[in-house]
Symmetry: C2
Subunit: 366 residues, 2 copies
Amino acid sequence: MSLRELRIAKENQGVHNFSAGPCILPNEVMEKAAESVINLDGIGLSILEISHRSKEFVAIIERARTLVRETMNLPDNYEVLFLQGGASYLSIITAQNYLSKEGTGAYVNSGTWARNSMNDAKVFGNIIEIASSESTQFNTYPELKDLPTDVDYIHITSNNTIAGNQIKNFPKTDIPLICDMSSDIFSRDIDVSQFAMIYAGAQKNLGPSGATLVIVNKDKLGQTDREIPRLMDLRNHIEKESMLNTPPCFSIYVSLLNLEWMIKNGGVEEMKKRCLERSELLYQEIDGNPLFEAHVSDLDSRSKMNVCFTLKDSSLNEEFITSCEKAKISGIKGHRSVGGYRASMYNAMSIESTKALVNVMKTFKL
Amino acid sequence: MSLRELRIAKENQGVHNFSAGPCILPNEVMEKAAESVINLDGIGLSILEISHRSKEFVAIIERARTLVRETMNLPDNYEVLFLQGGASYLSIITAQNYLSKEGTGAYVNSGTWARNSMNDAKVFGNIIEIASSESTQFNTYPELKDLPTDVDYIHITSNNTIAGNQIKNFPKTDIPLICDMSSDIFSRDIDVSQFAMIYAGAQKNLGPSGATLVIVNKDKLGQTDREIPRLMDLRNHIEKESMLNTPPCFSIYVSLLNLEWMIKNGGVEEMKKRCLERSELLYQEIDGNPLFEAHVSDLDSRSKMNVCFTLKDSSLNEEFITSCEKAKISGIKGHRSVGGYRASMYNAMSIESTKALVNVMKTFKL
């Protein structure tokens, strides 16, 4: 079978991929990536076996950085980096680059990953929690009011993948604002100038796991009195244009293909529209179906990416999972820490997959 | 074209890939990886879009860890991890996990990467250089004698990819011995019990860039008085079986395919034989051809993986590069810091590629 036939055969299997991440990517991105794993643009070498300093890979990473810059309308004093380590590693990078020895880092505790970011920073100095919705199992995004004005930075997590909450209006502050945007970047309008740094693990709306996108305001770096390890100082990565050490080449390459796919399909504007359609359709079913209940009741806090819900009667859990499996709905189980169900509907998901899930819910126990 | 036809067409292009890393991998590994980028084992999902906690990926990472364990004959108290960040990041991990606040880390300076490891550790405490061949441009592996007995650890780099030196006999010591084996792992016999930790960036003999293999003696961890950030404490990675955070799934998957290829082809024993054949053939030509000169003259220090040489008459450089290009020899330029030529001949390289290079050298200026 040709690559195209392989892809169509896969599509015909009709699996609906609701995985929380790594997650669905466009099939045409996979097809092109597969071709390049054998032979990159006909050069006689695989994308996996070329030097990161080859002219081919330098062109790939430069184009990926440029497309992020254009898509997000970056001001000139912002840089785009592709690092390794995931969002968890960026918790350390955040503290290393923004927290003074005697300063304070302020965190919004909107979920498990936000809390981890906060706790991981504590080894580096004074860390405070300025808002939290933990006492209600994160069933709302914490209210942000009276933000501190005497801290080194404020850290927020825009979208909670486990409980399914999401911030809708980013706070305005003169304090450097740092945002973990792993799970909703490229699905919403962002005024980057509000942030000192935005970071995102690639494995949701950007690409495969293994790369971490960092968008950083150069002017806000170098303000601390801390001695930063060479590999953790963002200024060094900026200076070396994301090549301080060998980058995760394939993850960056697939991210580039995916950025190109997104732009060809209408860019963030269209992605925003699609994710609104998908999430509205599903929340409507959850709210209207007496068997189900949304985890996040506050309408304004509901995630448009990760819709979390439960069966009111938990004795039906196994039966519902079986119904989902029959309809080829994959990755719908909630995070192991909370149970229930989670429909992660990232940019590459077609509305048909959401409809397939809604249909299972509509016909369940009829 | 089918995947197989694509692969054969690529092979027929006949590019000889001498890249220093990311580098050559077996074409049958690429073919299988490409198939899985579209549809992993026919499950209807790509290797790029499945959760790292799916049963499919858990089986992949477990098998990769098991094959490393078997291939390297690991004692029971050793663990295998796949991390992110590359060998450069492991310099930080080394200091964090083995260097006490008032202790000393001892380094062998055998090349640029060894020196970077040493310098990167200095931010964490007292670091000393115990041997160096820097004054002779690393044209030999530093002599190791009278190793210190009062340090927290000794760090060595087994193979220098830039100057082309390599240690042949690892030192015996009661001090925890840590080795960056990025560029010659799986090409030589290793008695793992001699080491507290071995690490290797995947992008040479293991797989694509983006993953870092760590082999660690559990009993030597937790000996320092340092507070280690959660994500940097190797004990946490061991406890979570390399799933402390989202791993670089595709790099690990291709590493598994490559380990399987290696075992099917005779394992380390056969890889050792092949790399000896390739390097002997090339050194013989360099030593016998009046136009060329090996960078490493000390025979016992010569790398079997990265053969570095120069033209005695540097005015011929451009002409030689043109001759190489005509013969489809790729990636032969020396590291930008030293110039000259570097033939990196990793496990997947066929002897035919070495012969092609030798042939260019033999016929050059005739």
